[in-house]
């Protein structure tokens, strides 16, 4: 995205001191950097800043602003890091876990009905699962008398043995 004039002015302000410090550190002849570069950036920036304050819609600010950026050169890129206008880390999408499921197995109308051995919990996909059956936490160890398996990619919950009418199921996404 193109920089706005205000961003260019901010970058130029920072570039001035970055250039000055760099020239000082490089010693003899400023390491090839023009010794008056900070002054040049300042002088061009000030004229643009004044004009921008008077009329931010002036279309000539695009050309003069780009010229200012060209003057800033590498210091302009460094300055963008300082102002964070050179890019940001995209924040991860915030997500709220779905509400737990708690119900007594019925003949119909519940997530698991009497005799049902598996169900797809689409909203739970992507989460790990805690499954409690009649108040007893279940495991995925299939050698146990009752257990479950959970595919966190697809949201498929398979239980063994199948649901029995009146059982209390508590399913928590974590």
């Amino acid at each position: 995205m193109a920089l706005s004039t205000q961003q260019q002015l901010n970058i130029a302000s920072i570039s001035e001191y970055l250039a000055y410090v760099d020239i000082q550190k490089k010693g003899l002849n400023g390491g090839g950097v023009p010794l008056d570069l900070p002054q040049k950036i300042y002088i061009i920036r000030k004229s643009i800043a004044y004009w921008y304050a008077l009329d931010p819609t002036d279309t000539t600010l695009v050309a003069t602003g780009n010229y200012l950026m060209a003057l800033c050169g590498l210091y302009g890129l460094e300055a963008q890091e300082v102002t964070a206008s050179g890019g940001t880390v995209a924040p991860s999408a915030t997500s709220a876990a779905p509400l737990p499921l708690q119900f007594e197995v019925a003949a119909s109308g519940t997530t698991f009905i009497d005799g049902q051995g598996s169900a797809t919990l689409a909203t739970f996909a992507g989460y790990n699962l805690l499954f409690s059956r009649n108040g007893i936490p279940q495991s995925t160890v299939s050698s146990q008398p009752s257990y479950y398996s959970w595919n966190r990619s697809t949201g498929l919950l398979t239980i063994s043995p199948s649901a029995i009418l009146g059982e209390l199921f508590q399913i928590y996404p974590v």
Binding site: I43, K46, S47, Y50, T60, A63, T64, Y67
Partner: protein, 177 residues
């Protein structure tokens, strides 16, 4: 009722460097105020008014939020005083500011920046660049004289120096080099 605060802003508009715009910043109402006057005083004590005005001040209708005064022939450091008066010419409120009005020279400075943007080699032209640096320095110095010390004398000297560069631009700023 009376004003609880009273002040004003001074501004200029692109393309009209000879015009000063004064905008009132007033809180409250006062029915006794029937007229306003604006004094624009230079460092030499002279009052600036448009051609045809015989008073030292510029009339400012009480009904207008702002007033445009066309009186500048160059950049000035000015002492600006606004008075709010009643029908008997008694000053009920007043405010004073010291300002630098630099649109003439700033416009010219920006013009030279545009020239540089369109002709990249100009930055290597010592004559052009040296004079542009002087121009910027003089404007900034004038502004500093006012903002730090309300020093109209020295500010005007700086502004006049910048104006001299602008007036001699055909010799000092060769945009074709």
């Amino acid at each position: 009722m009376a004003y609880t605060s009273w002040s004003f802003n001074v501004s200029q508009t692109v393309g009209s460097p000879s015009v000063v715009t004064i905008t009132a910043v007033v809180t409250g109402t006062d029915s006794n105020v029937t007229q306003r006057r604006v004094y624009l005083q230079t460092n030499s004590g002279e009052f600036l008014v448009p051609t045809g005005v015989s008073t030292e001040y510029n009339e400012w209708s009480i009904s207008g939020a702002s007033v445009d005064i066309d009186c500048l022939d160059k950049d000035y450091g000015l002492r600006v005083v606004v008075e709010w008066l009643d029908v008997s010419d008694v000053v009920l409120y007043d405010d004073e500011q010291f300002v630098g009005l630099t649109l003439y020279n700033e416009s010219f400075d920006y013009l030279t920046t545009q020239l540089m943007a369109s002709n990249k080699l100009l930055i290597n032209d010592n004559n052009f660049w040296k004079n542009k640096s002087k121009l910027r320095t003089l404007i900034d110095a004038g502004n500093n004289a006012i903002s730090f010390a309300s020093d109209l004398d020295n500010a005007q000297s700086c502004y006049d120096g910048a104006t001299a560069l602008r007036d001699g631009s055909q010799y000092l700023f060769n945009g074709n080099s």
